[in-house]
């Protein structure tokens, strides 16, 4: 054999790689070439022998004898090519049969393993599955050519408004899109056949949107160009749900007039079931934009486009970026220098539609560092499940040592045995993946995910069901799981000597790793149950929530009202010719009249109006404080911002802790005052006197300074953590908040007034759409859902880990008892007590359970103390601690009893005489 390490050279390594590749993936051709080469050799040798005087037949026969068996040559050639190790890893259907038999032989162990992987694999898959679902094409867009165009504000990491002028500019200039459309959503009061009006979600669409979506109506037609001409009759296309609920699926609905708000619209089409563009809309109206010839009222829109043939989304975005924003003071452009400055910061993006809806960055979920963290965590959980399954497989495989020894003696290589165990584990993993994915799919169909997220329904285009990519990923994960859980234990198990195994003279020892896994399972279970209890307890602590809210939220009805077909707020839209905005005038009148009527209503104490109420999600804005030096390039600090009616705090009964309340003149044009809450004083002003200080909000198109005139309490800005809920309140004039939130303080149960409030609103203005109404104490901030989801996840985690720990301990104990039966019998015969026998066998497991509990309990106790401690004293903390510790003790007892009971009974049932005949 050649000496020096020629294989270390690059050329040598490449040659080997090419050779192995050819041998693995072009095996048939290689075998054919070998045969041909050997045929040539035999022919040449026969010819030589003929020249030496043999007859052709004799020459061929002798040539064959000299050459030997061709099959042996090929086998040796394969060995020379290094293929033996690959050959050992071949699979056969026999492996599958044996795998199925093993499943029947150890049902409990296999059930625990399937359960672990059935949870672990979907958990590992869920993040990427969700990310793919969010970026899936819209229904009807099989070629995935539809994209949304939006502005992204890198400063606030949020979507910035897009205006109708920008849409018009893009429609005229962009070549990367074959068509562009704009739309906006709102709620509308739609009158039923019986004349009663109820809100329905709807959208205004520009003329090309239906064509882009390739949506065909069930009845009638979709919106056409003629519907968008000035002076055209008001028409509407309705959805299947609306057609069913309001019109009883009457086929003669076409041509009927339906009252939407104040106006009558003619129904021209009905869309099929399942169409609800852009999310869950039930009716579609023409979007008539009038941004031509001088500045008009700016209208906030969203933009959808179909990419031109051969153009990618990246190319379209490059064209968009190279164009820049529309020029100032053009019909399409921004209206002021401030706007231009702000717009220059924004980034125009071309994104999948799902990202527009959810406001995710351009990379989607995968672009969020938090998502990558969650993905890694889920993958680690899957590996933990695999680790535990490896322990179970190890135990199961350990009972077959003699079988492996005999097979090895009969010629099976180690690789062959390992490959068989891999196939058995792969079978387990595939079954588990299948079960897990099917259960996951079932859960998606039957669990109200929208409700969990605080929404009425998921977007119509969001399909979370099983996809081909997810199914293939599940199989890939199953293979990874089988490798981790099957191959590694198999390599360890088959590393023992044959003679040793045949004699059965030594036992499999479960090493420190398996023991550490059991301890870790129990420790995490105990810690997690304490955390879950503490987290959920904190989130549902009504007393704490009320303290953070500052008002008795259970006495308030929270109702949203909006006027559709206009700018969203007066801060966003203005008429540059100085005339009052008609929408604002209408809304001011409606607000004044509605509040007045509600105030006069029996059962109502007061009504507060704002763009957000206590306990709701408050929007955040960056701010600056006058007199505080800001380091260049340092990040701005953020605060919550709310715009409220001047009577807001008085109507809520919230005392002004310092300074003064708003007065009517504070809401006039040019007035610049603000009220802050105590959290703002503490965190932004470091408890300095805020009265007279000034604050402003840069990068929002408004550079004015606001003077702080008063301080109020926390007011439910952050219900879970009042100290971190700093907020600034600005006074809003009548008619400038749309949608507006009303907090109706009642003397009767608030929910009982819902119908009456709707009647009053309809009487005040039929255009005024009433949105969600709920008791204020039932309103949840986004953090609440996150926290409860976390608690639920922890409970699931606890369940999985308890099952794994129990089954792992059970497996090890059962094996230990089996192997030590003779020893136990001898000890019993020599007079050992039953207690002593039990302690001998169970000692190790009991120590592991105890160690896990000792590690996990302090973490659980700490969580309870941190999250449920109250300023009122130690009473509630002690109570919570007792419950958490009780739960943790329950876990320990559950695992201990479940895993040890059966092996303990077996130990106690062993008779000395029978034990002497046992193999162990």
């Amino acid at each position: 054999m050649l000496g020096p390490p020629d294989w270390l050279s690059v050329a040598g390594l490449l040659a080997r790689a090419r050779s192995v590749y050819r041998a693995l993936f072009h095996r048939a051709a290689l075998e054919q070439e070998m045969r041909e080469e050997f045929r040539h050799h035999l022919a040449e040798r026969a010819e030589t022998l003929v020249r030496e005087g043999l007859t052709p037949d004799a020459a061929h026969a002798r040539a064959r004898r000299e050459f030997g068996h061709e099959g042996t040559h090929r086998e040796q050639a394969r060995e020379a090519l290094g293929l033996e190790s690959f050959a050992q890893l071949r699979f056969s259907w026999l492996d599958v049969k044996v795998g199925l038999r093993m499943l029947r032989k150890h049902p409990m162990l296999n059930l625990a393993a399937v359960f672990a992987l059935a949870v672990g694999i979907p958990v590992g898959l869920a993040p990427s599955h969700l990310a793919r679902a969010l970026e899936a094409p819209l229904p009807g867009d099989a070629a995935d050519r539809l994209r949304a165009i939006r502005h992204w504000d890198p400063l606030s990491s949020a979507v910035a408004p897009t205006w109708d002028g920008e849409f018009t500019f893009w429609a005229q200039t962009l070549r990367s899109f074959s068509s562009l459309g704009a739309f906006r959503t709102s709620s509308y009061n739609v009158a039923s056949v019986d004349g009663r009006a109820a809100p329905a979600a709807g959208a205004q669409l520009s003329s090309s949107v239906f064509q882009m979506l390739r949506a065909r109506p069930l009845l009638g037609r979709v919106l056409e160009e003629a519907d968008f001409v000035a002076g055209a009759p008001d028409v509407v296309v309705i959805g299947h749900g609306l057609w069913s609920s309001r019109f009883g699926q009457d086929p003669r609905v076409l041509g009927r007039s339906v009252r939407i708000g104040r106006n009558l619209h003619v129904v021209v089409g009905v869309m099929p079931d399942g169409f609800a563009f852009p999310t869950n809309e039930a009716l579609w109206l023409p979007l008539r934009l009038t941004s031509v010839g001088g500045m008009q009222e700016r209208v906030r829109v969203q933009v959808l486009g179909r990419l031109a043939d051969g153009v990618s989304a990246q190319q379209a975005e490059a064209e968009l970026s190279s164009q820049g924003p529309p020029p100032l003071n053009s019909p399409s452009g921004a209206g002021s220098v401030n706007d231009a400055g702000e717009r220059a910061r924004l980034r125009a993006e071309v994104v999948p539609f799902g990202l527009l809806y959810l406001g995710l960055p351009a990379g989607g979920l995968a672009g969020l560092p938090e998502f990558r963290y969650v993905q890694a965590l889920m993958f680690v959980l899957m590996l933990v499940a695999c680790g535990n399954v490896a322990m179970l497989v190890f135990a199961r495989t350990a009972t077959r040592l003699r079988e492996f020894a005999i097979r090895t003696a009969l010629g099976a290589s180690r690789g062959r045995i390992v490959s068989q165990i891999f196939v058995e584990t792969l079978l387990l993993a595939v079954i588990a993946a299948g079960v897990g994915v099917l259960v996951f799919n079932w859960a998606l169909d039957h669990v109200n995910l929208a409700g969990l997220a605080g929404e009425s329904a998921l977007p119509y285009w969001l399909s979370l069901g099983l996809t081909r990519e997810t199914a293939l990923s599940a199989l890939a994960f199953a293979a990874v799981s089988a490798t981790v859980a099957g191959v590694l234990p198999a390599i360890v198990i088959t590393g023992r000597g044959i003679a040793q195994n045949i004699r059965g003279g030594s036992r499999v020892r479960f090493g420190r790793l398996t023991g550490a896994l059991v301890v870790a399972d129990i420790a995490v279970s105990v810690a997690a149950v304490g955390m879950a209890f503490a987290v959920s307890g904190h989130a549902t602590d009504l007393q704490a929530a009320d303290r953070a809210t500052g008002i008795p939220a259970s006495e308030y009805l929270a109702v949203e009202f909006r006027l559709p077909e206009g700018a969203s707020t007066s801060a966003d839209a203005r008429a540059d010719d100085g005339a009052p905005d008609p929408l604002r005038v209408q809304l001011a009148a409606a607000q004044r009249e509605l509040v007045a009527r509600l105030d006069r209503e029996p059962g109502v104490r007061r009504v507060a109006v704002g763009d957000v109420l206590p306990r709701m999600e408050h929007r955040s804005r960056p701010y600056e404080l006058d007199g505080v030096e800001r380091v260049a390039d340092a990040p701005l600090r953020w605060t919550r911002l709310a715009r409220v009616d001047v009577d807001f705090f008085d109507a809520l009964g919230t005392p002004i802790l310092s300074g003064r309340d708003f007065v009517r003149t504070d809401a006039e044009e040019g007035s610049r005052v603000a009220i802050v809450n105590t959290a703002f004083v503490e965190r932004a002003l470091e408890d300095q006197d805020p009265i007279g200080r000034r604050v402003r909000f840069p990068n929002t198109g408004n550079a004015a300074w606001y003077e702080i005139v008063g301080v109020v309490g926390p007011l439910g800005v952050n219900v879970l953590n009042a100290d971190r809920g700093e907020a600034v309140y600005l006074p809003a004039a009548l008619g400038t908040i749309n949608p507006m939130q009303l907090a109706v303080h009642t003397v009767v149960p608030p929910a009982a007034l819902t119908g009456r409030v709707r009647e009053l609103a309809m009487a005040v203005d039929p255009d005024l759409v009433m949105g969600k109404a709920s008791v204020l104490s039932d309103v949840r901030q986004g953090d609440w859902y996150l926290v409860m989801g976390l608690a639920a996840g922890l409970v699931v985690l606890v369940g999985v880990l308890i099952a794994l720990a129990t089954s792992g301990l059970y497996a090890m104990l059962s094996l230990s008892v089996s192997e030590r039966t003779r020893e136990i019998g001898i000890r019993a015969a020599l007079g050992a007590s039953r207690g002593g026998l039990l302690l001998t066998i169970l000692k190790r497991s009991l120590v592991q359970i105890g160690l896990g509990a000792v590690i996990g309990l302090p973490i659980a106790a700490r969580s309870v103390f941190e999250l449920t401690g109250t300023p009122d004293g130690a009473g509630s903390v002690a109570q919570s601690m007792a419950v958490a510790l009780g739960l943790a003790t329950g876990i320990v007892l559950l695992v201990g009893l479940s895993s040890c009971l059966v092996p303990a009974r077996r130990i106690l049932g062993i008779e000395a005489r029978e034990a002497m005949h046992a193999d162990g």
């Binding site: 050997f38 040539h40 040559h73 040796q76 290094g82």
Partner: protein, 113 residues
């Protein structure tokens, strides 16, 4: 014909490389060439030839290609690669040093001790 010589284990590859270094040759031709250049002293067993050829090709020391032989048959011809030439030169030098050392050892006289 020279007396028959047994190939020491590990030297077959060296002899094959030498045979191929003299010119492109097919498998059967390697046998004949080795017999020829050794004066008939080395007769390579047919059972070990092709595993050795495939092993050398796997390591990248020789490369095979299909061509038509002098007898108008399709045959696989082997040639030495650049890596093979370097390896052969190295092995040949090592072998020569070994042979010289053994020869010197075998001709040692008591006076040299």
């Amino acid at each position: 014909m020279a007396p028959a010589a047994a190939l020491l284990p590990g030297n077959l590859d060296l002899v094959i490389l030498k045979a191929i270094s003299l010119g492109d040759v097919h498998g059967y031709g390697v046998l004949l060439r080795i017999e020829q250049i050794s004066g008939g002293a080395i007769l390579v067993q047919q059972g070990v030839l092709y595993p050795a050829l495939y092993r050398l090709e796997h390591k990248g020391l020789i490369a095979g290609r299909w061509a038509t032989s002098a007898n108008n048959r399709r045959a696989r011809y082997y040639r030495l690669t650049a890596l093979g030439r370097r390896q052969f030169a190295h092995e040949q030098g090592a072998w020569q040093r070994l042979v010289d050392a053994i020869a010197r050892s075998l001709t040692a006289t008591p006076q040299e001790i």
